[in-house]
Amino acid sequence: MAVETQPVSPALNQPAREEEEALREQLMFDPRPREELNRMVMESMYSTSPRYWVAVGVLTALVLVCLVGMWGYMIFTGIGIAGIRKPIYWGVFIVTFVFWIGISHAGTFVSAILRVFKAEFRRPFTRAAELMTTFGLAAGALYPLIHLGRVWVFYWMIPYPNARWLWPNFRSPLVWDFLAITTYLLSSTIYLYLPLLPDLAMARDRTQGWRHAVYKALALGWRGTEAEWFRLRKAINIFAFAIIPVMFSVHTIVSWDFAVGQVGGWNSTIFGPYFIIGAILSGVSAVITILVILRATLKHMDYFIRPEHLDALGKLVLVFSMAWAYFFFNDYLVSWYGGYEVTRRILTLHATGPTAWVWYCMLFFNVVIPWLTLWSRKIRRTPWAMFIITVLINVGMYFERYTIIPMTLGHQRFPFDWGEYSPRLPEISIAFGTLCLFILLYLLASRLIPLVPVWEVREGQEAHKVVKVGKTVVPSVSELE
């Protein structure tokens, strides 16, 4: 086939011109001068309405009351005010911990994996996803402390020879958790910061006063020399490749918190990949939710975040929903077929017990809704529809963790030790408080950090060209690196 690659000329025929017009709907084929892109991103940071400050005020109050206040009250009175008690010692705190760790996977997935595979649609929203990882981990990392009850002895987790000459047991999954979350939190924060350097320099050059001083310090004297770009690319590449196995390890280790225990329903060899798939499903859905909100609330964001991005991420959600269903069924079928009495009883209880609605909602939100809706391109490109679908998926994923943890713990080997779990106000309040904390951190960051990696967008726009092939035009991407 003879392929003619040349810039599109005005002499194109009508269908080719229409094709070219259609391509302009894509961000990469709708370039604007760098100066204008900078201005748009800076304006989105600066433009704050009174509604924004009301939201910040309300969220701050909620964080103080629901999270700080209630946690303080629980520390003062003791963890007995929570609903966890014999035989269910792991309740909403651990459910919410697993949920936030899962959410945090999206940043790495969207940014690192799509970067490694050179998926071009990632460019405008990698930072939004990376921020989600950092704040999700910050919210999740509170839970081991909250769950401790006696939080003032948290330092027993830190390896140093204490008065009793005891060290943390490095063969314990709880210590693995500590190591994995620390590693992931530090590396994902750095991974957020590195590609931010050129944008911080851009902000430095366009601001004055305290903002200028802050950006100047954070930009590390960035000028954009060849050596600086080379160094940055090298470091980002190392991070992109190295952080992927770290991401996998984090949620696998979280799953081992359960799987290595001799608890019916938990002792499963498939828990590692099952948790990872669930985390990615939950995380990518959360990215879509956030992108829809950013697009609707931030100035100029509709230029950067377009239906094509929701479309591409929607396809990913559909694929991961299918993968999640596969792992769920695999785990379910083998456990059920094995005929082990405890496991069978738990599985029956999930589907017929007093909290069976949680189990059915989980399946409905995680499987039925995405499968019925996300096959449609039109739905995938409709922001409000994607918002609803992705919020429901995350509700479903929360229910999945609820099913795995308290609903399973209540019916173990000894019938005299069975019990039901009802979360109490402190647990619900603290879980809600961390959600408010996450949103609050995001709101504040949206006014301090350029949420769109402008240089990456501009680089992508320079790499994309429309070329004429026969009687039509097609998109073409050059390898600029």
Partner: protein, 179 residues
């Protein structure tokens, strides 16, 4: 030798070809690659500009950090049980499978943190190339920064302005670093 002056030839965003040609012109006037730097708001590879490959120690620093992390994990996994023995009936005193987790996490932590420290140290280290900056760089302009003796001024002007550049003499970098 006469005193060298820093010049900055600023090209518009879409004039990458002209910037590459300007570098060639400067070489033709006897200015070496060591005395030139390209600064830009968007990354351009060395090949695009016909420049020698840049060099960094980040990979080596990263590997050294990974090794440090591995050694720390070795100490945690096998050193601490010897220093502070906890004997639990039926459990292996030192075990490989569970140690892999600690090895992996600490090795990766060492790699990633040291990679970042490598970037940080190289960023704040003194640079020996021509220093200079213009805020228009982050607005997409491409800057060719170079040292040249004053006697070359007329020829430089003619050649670079002919390529569409705006010349800024003595483009000393504003204080871009906090300290």
């Amino acid at each position: 030798m006469s005193r060298r002056i820093i010049h900055l030839a600023l090209f518009p965003e879409d004039a990458l070809d002209q910037a590459a040609e300007a570098l060639e012109t400067l070489r033709g006037m006897g200015i070496t690659d060591r005395d030139m730097t390209v600064i830009s708001g968007t990354p351009f590879s060395e090949k695009m500009l016909g420049r020698p490959m840049a060099w960094t120690r980040i990979s080596i620093i990263g590997i050294a950090g990974a090794l440090m992390g591995f050694l720390t994990a070795l100490f945690f996994n096998f050193g601490t049980p010897l220093l502070y023995p906890i004997r639990v009936g039926g459990m292996a005193y030192q075990t490989l499978p569970t140690s892999f987790v600690v090895f992996f996490e600490l090795t990766m932590l060492g790699l990633l943190i040291s990679t970042f420290l490598g970037v940080f140290v190289e960023m704040i280290s003194p640079s020996f190339g021509p220093q200079g900056y213009d805020p228009r760089i982050t607005d997409g302009h491409i800057g060719v920064l170079f040292w040249a003796p004053p006697e070359l001024d007329p020829r430089l002007h003619e050649a670079l302005t002919g390529l569409g550049a705006e010349i800024i003499h003595g483009a000393e970098a504003k204080k871009l670093w906090l300290f």
